[in-house]
């Protein structure tokens, strides 16, 4: 049976991360998921959307080994994760979860010390750990913060330090819970740019968010959750479907509405993509008027 499931999971390009038949519930409440199947393709950005209490965080925690499903299996790179401590630790190393609140993950006095926490636990030699830390800080563009005490950092900086800490584990998948929450729009842009750099370097990103507009312009595929999987597919298809969004208790994105209005006004060629940002919509409008 294991072989068959493995065979399925590895058919075609193996999924970076997959869950099959995941069932999970918190004590004394109705199960959040029953027999959930999800598949995260290699190398993309996967948006996870849904209402509060819809199971976004639960799914992220199940996929990253921070919760154990009541039933069902997790696959990393096509391999089934076995029961037991060793396999769980291997899953956690390969799939790093970053929480919404950076303060939950910063528990050391200085930035470099905090980022080194994971590499030290991997049993790396001091030199190798130091190298990892430097590399992770570089990737998050916060090398200059290395010797700062963590409690003096801004919220956005703390978010980056936590990301560096996860990246220092060299995971194949980074799972981010609401990475843009609490950031101002400029902070969101700059973080998305940095994360794009990680994606370009081959890391698969799984990102939960409330921001339909962000998911619409950034994610390749999305998972729409509301205590079960409502839809999985191309972001621009799923998030343009008002019925699906209503079922997930989300608002529609602005971009498709603006795109349609611009096409109706003849300011955007039929078939061309929707404007990603209000700036872009304004530019299209301004170009026509100016």
């Amino acid at each position: 049976m294991t072989t068959a499931a493995d065979g399925d999971a590895t058919a075609a390009p193996p999924a970076a991360l997959a869950g099959r038949g995941l069932t999970f519930g918190y004590p004394d409440t109705a199960p959040v998921f029953t027999g959930l199947d999800v598949r995260i393709a290699q190398g993309g950005v996967v948006g996870v959307l849904g209402p509060n209490g819809g199971g976004k965080t639960t799914l992220l925690r199940l996929l990253s080994g921070s919760l154990t499903p009541d039933a069902g299996e997790i696959y990393v790179g096509g391999e089934r994760v076995r029961r037991g401590r060793r396999a769980l630790n291997e899953l956690r190393r390969r799939v790093q979860l970053v929480f919404q609140d950076p303060d939950d993950q910063l528990f050391s006095a200085s930035v470099s010390q905090d980022v080194s926490f994971g590499p030290m636990n991997l049993g790396l030699a001091a030199d190798a750990a130091r190298e990892r830390v430097a590399w992770a800080l570089e990737a998050l563009e916060i090398t200059e913060l290395a010797e700062q005490p963590t409690h003096l950092l801004s919220y956005g900086q703390r978010k980056r330090v936590v990301l560096a800490g996860a990246l220092a584990m060299r995971p194949s998948v980074l799972v981010l819970d609401e990475p843009t929450a609490g950031l101002d729009p400029e902070g969101v842009e700059s973080l998305v740019e940095t994360l794009e750099g990680l994606r370009a370097a081959g890391t698969t990103l799984v990102v939960s968010t409330h921001d339909v507009d962000l998911a619409y312009r950034w994610a390749d595929t999305v998972l729409l959750l509301n205590r079960g999987l409502l839809a999985a597919g191309e972001a621009r298809e799923v998030l343009a479907d008002p019925a699906l969004l209503a079922a997930a208790r989300l608002r529609p994105a602005w971009a498709p509405a603006a795109g349609r209005a611009l096409r109706a006004a003849g300011l955007l060629a039929p078939g061309s993509p929707d404007p990603a940002t209000p700036e872009e919509a304004a530019r299209l409008l301004g170009g026509a008027e100016g």
Partner: protein, 251 residues
Amino acid sequence: MLAIDAAAYASPWRRVHPAVKGVFFGGLLVCALALPTWPAAPLVAAVALTAALGPARVSPRAFARAAWGPLLFILTGSLTLLVTVGGPQGAIAFDPDGPARAAEIIGRAAAAVCCQLLFALTTPLADLLPRLTRIGLPAALVETVALIYRMLFVTLDSAHRIQTAQAGRLGYSHRRAWVRSVGALGAALFVRSYDRAQRMQRGLECRGYTGELTVLVDELSLRPAAVSAAALPSVLVAAATVSYMFLGAGL
């Protein structure tokens, strides 16, 4: 977050005055401790469990989970009573009176643990603590205890989340990492507790805080009849035990 606490808020006996539950379970507890273990302990356990699993609808699973820890202590501790050391039979020898003695202590303690747990499983601390001033405890102390009760959930929540994050970075994968992780967690929690106190200070000042945490405690009617009724089971257990002893002596 804490199973016993959550069960207490969901209990159908929640609206019963804490003093009534205190008399009921406290009276039984006194019976278990003060009366001869046989037959008082089984009687106490039977009455307490019947009330709890019946009208108070305590979940047997929640009860079993909570009882596991103290029972383990009681059983391990009682193992020592089975043997005697340094006696004429040698350094360590089986004590023929041991099993009876151990059984007596296990019986008494198990009955007492039932009373304690069932009180805890039906009485939320948010209802109990503000009323402690009525029994003469200083208000400043009661306010502080109530504040600790509220803040421990906030701190516990931080602890859980930090621990999950540490586990994700393999902080509990081997013993050395574990020690390092718990140490880092303890330090982070201390700093955070201090910070939380300062932020709460600011937050409460906006609502007129000047040093007193005075709140309005809802009146729960405490009817003397209810208190008497709550005392009745203990009286009956005591009467049954005493008459059993007399009967035993008479035979």
